[in-house]
Symmetry: D2
Subunit: 319 residues, 4 copies
């Protein structure tokens, strides 16, 4: 293994830059040449690449986003595009690929790696924290804190104006962010895609709360469970109480990565390079039970399982 | 003047709490008894009041929202409600009212004060910064920084994914926040209610930018100028480029007040009490040209005038 | 078990308040009466206690410090003081104690619990993250992020003025914070108490860096490894280069707890109450390998062991 | 005027980067060529310069520090160095200099400009806010908020452990930051160089506070008034109460500039270029009474006068 390439694909996540930094510098320290591919798979298809040296990743450790840019490359599903990508791999004698991204990226990496016999290692980076077999992905801690700051702000108004707020957070089909934020924010309820939403019961709680003097209320909604606007209208319809919707949206993707997101990114960057050096492939590196692990791409891209019932009950018990 | 009452009305703004702290402690230091009225005018109507002592405002200086709660009290427009409010004033021998709020609050204060001969002083607190004759109101600096943090986060994604974002900020009919945020955020364009929106021209700039390699773009929209969602759809329709909308919403109302919002709040709290002690009334205190001033309620509630053309041009020149 | 008491002792840590919230509300939900003890052991000695109901912990989830106050109670080492504390336990029919704190607190809890047969459960809360057998304590994530923000700020000046900075972080005898911050901050070196400090070699690196154009440098020092001021003077003496010292100090103890610190605090609060209800005692609850665990006080208070060599090497490799 | 040069000198301040951005882009928009000089005067002496185009200032608006680097250049006081600097000016046909910095920078600019007949305009950038005739300089708002965050954190511990803290903030001979922070932080006292420090009286207040139950106390010290460590020792000696010192230090220089610091920087950048284009020289641009103004270098470098007595009294009244 003499030369590896690194790319970021799919939605950006805070911590991708420190991960790039680690792949580049740890790779160089281990006598590898490291090539950066721009705009994810698209850059591999179109030969948008550049050799990265030690200095090229200076100062990026504290920055959100990704200096390599990223894209959701639909084109890569076609055989022709994959051929072109493989040609780039051959032309530049790339011995291994480090793919920084989430489920979609790993699915593509799994297929591409198998089809063309290219060693691919994934680094789990996704604010959604929806990679099966992993406790944390790069960026989720930052996104959760960003959403929590927003919730704390909204709490000020909810308390001052005595209102009901429905706050939609990111997470795709996964309720992880929503649960973490609802727990940390002391929120009164949370709707996630993994559990049926019982709106009647939620509204009953609100009305009952009102009767005993609990007049402000924040409900967190995972985007996979529905739209904040829709829920707000329904709650208003059922309870007659003024209800406001806030959709946090893309503010959750960016921003300075937290210490946790950075430290994880740096450790995973090292692990991915180590894996390639050891001849490992077709796996994603991530954090499980407090340790850095490698899990097969095929496992990683399955529907994530995690203990949500315990957290959900705790949220409801503590409000 | 022996006893004054303080209330917060309308939308909450970060810095209302330090303003309350100043009114209470500065009042007490000047031998006044200070009564807190809860839920704005509603509390005056319903006798929801409490004597506030030195300790009752401990630790609130750093907190968003208002410990006195607030409300948008439609009921207060009726004569009957006003009579009841006045009865509370008489019953508790309140010699002066300090009204912490914005335009709506001052309009009500102006009418109520005149009709019932109650000395009323306003403290300009509104994230919208839409009080005529004043450069800054309590809370606007905090709201602008909250919105700016959000924009900085969105910039990470806009740059990484090379996308167009339309970001809606608060400000009611006033483009002040939007201009301040767009300038500080290095945003490519800004739509405000005070200027006609030229969407064709904006889209022309975007397409031209794309041709010369400027592929990410953030447009700030003041809520008074339209909906981010609508603009995003139209821009996508005209340019064919993927365009995302983010509505920052209520996160802009809350949060720890900035130093500027706190210092202003504390100075204005003092000024309002001083004014009442000097026999002044029917005025709002605020900041103009770097100094604390008093302006008549009638002037304050007019449509705000400020130099927006200079800032707008600077934004366009610097992108 | 009908009535439990909760106290916070030793240095305060961000997340103590959410832990109190969880103990109180989860306890009440499980039919317990919960008593708050003020100022740690001191409050138990002097009967400074108060019944805590559901509302008494409203709004504290986002606040640093501890509403129960805390103290480093030297007096508690005397037999007489312990007797008085036990009298309070008996007098108010306290069936179990929840002790929120660190090593010192657990040592005291272990002794007191054994001597007087009082069921005691500890909740690991300490910014130092120095509890043996646990991966994270409440507050360490917040402290690390606070220190990291400071380092990011200092980096701006280090880069702009091309200077060497020695930054001292907290952590008592434990280098955990220092390592986490140095890694996440992209710092050039780190001195911790668990490894001998090789100042000659560090200075050699600095001078060598200078020769190849790396002119700014941040060295993190754990307080247990020495004083930033002393190191700065020595480095200046050896290298002749201008070197500045910054001691972050108590800013690392306070502030809004991060999502991680809050979620951990809430889960540990539940676990401590569960343990007492199940008849468990003489243990601390904390996080190990991603899961909430109970470990004996005797194990917890031993010198913490953790993999520092791997992190240290990674830091040095990536700079 | 065809070509101007821009440099940053003295201590870095958050907002220098947006100021550079404005000078470059506004200059280019006005048909000027803009040259960046590195490391302040040092770069002018040693010909460390580079043409700056539109793209060269992309993405710096949100970054602390200065991409042009800065230095405190003692060498520039010598005639020989000034001659070399002037040779650079001539060699590259620089028609005007924009000097971003504080008092020292303006003193040097005044001398250099006069001696060699080089049009120089200053942009007031200094966290110390110590420029005479100006209400705010670039960076002071950011520094004040950074210090305030630190104070808020320390307040958590001060309240929880019931301790006295002496917190030293920056500001050189000027008490502006200290006053602003002490007011916004609700601090109990503040020592500034412009007023004699009455330690006996301060200690009397502390002891009296203790007797009536006010057991936590934060005193802000401007660096020009003395060392936090020294004051802490003296207060402990007089009162016998445990007193801790925290020196905030260089964390106050860096960090993302606030909206206020950025907007001011951008407006001042424009003004400085406008001034040169209009043939103006030997002046600094800054904010006075809410407006952008130009003041002669000779006035700017005098000892700053501002109303400190009013703020000081307000701080003492409100605690």
């Amino acid at each position: 293994m003499k030369r590896i390439a690194v790319l970021t694909t799919g939605g950006d996540a805070p911590g991708m830059n420190p991960a790039i930094r680690a792949v580049v510098r740890y790779g160089i320290a281990n006598k590898l040449e490291v090539i950066g591919v721009f705009r994810g798979w698209s850059g591999l298809i179109n030969e948008e690449i550049k050799v990265l040296d030690h200095r090229s990743v200076s100062g990026i450790i504290s920055q959100g986003g990704t200096i390599l840019k990223t894209s959701r490359c639909v084109e890569f599903r076609s055989k022709e595009a994959q051929e072109r990508a493989y040609n780039t791999v051959k032309k530049f004698a790339v011995d291994g690929l480090v793919i920084i991204g989430g489920n979609g990226s790993f699915t593509a990496g799994h297929e591409f790696g198998k089809k063309y016999n290219v060693p691919c290692m994934g680094i789990a980076a996704s604010i959604d924290n929806d990679i099966n077999g992993l406790d944390y992905t790069i960026g989720s801690d930052t996104a959760i804190n960003t959403a929590l700051n927003a919730i704390d702000n909204i709490r000020d108004t909810a308390t001052s104006l005595e209102r009901i707020f429905v706050v939609e957070v990111m997470g795709r089909d996964c309720g992880f962010i929503a649960l973490a934020v609802a727990l940390a924010g002391g929120c009164e309820d949370v709707f996630i895609p993994e559990r049926p939403v019982d709106l009647e019961s939620a509204c009953h709680d609100i009305v009952h709360g009102n009767l005993i003097g609990k007049v402000s209320w924040i409900i967190v909604v995972a985007e996979g469970a529905g739209k904040a606007e829709d829920f707000a209208k329904k709650i208003n319809g059922i309870t007659g109480l003024e209800t406001r919707a806030v959709t946090l949206g893309h503010i959750q993707r960016g921003g300075r990565p937290t210490a946790f997101s950075r430290d994880l990114a740096l450790r995973l960057g090292k692990e991915a390079v180590d894996a390639l050096l050891e001849g490992d492939r077709d796996k994603a590196v991530g954090l499980s039970k407090g340790r850095v692990v490698r899990i097969g791409f095929e496992t990683a891209i399955k529907k994530k399982e995690f203990d949500l019932e315990g957290i959900y009950k705790l949220i409801k018990t503590l409000t």
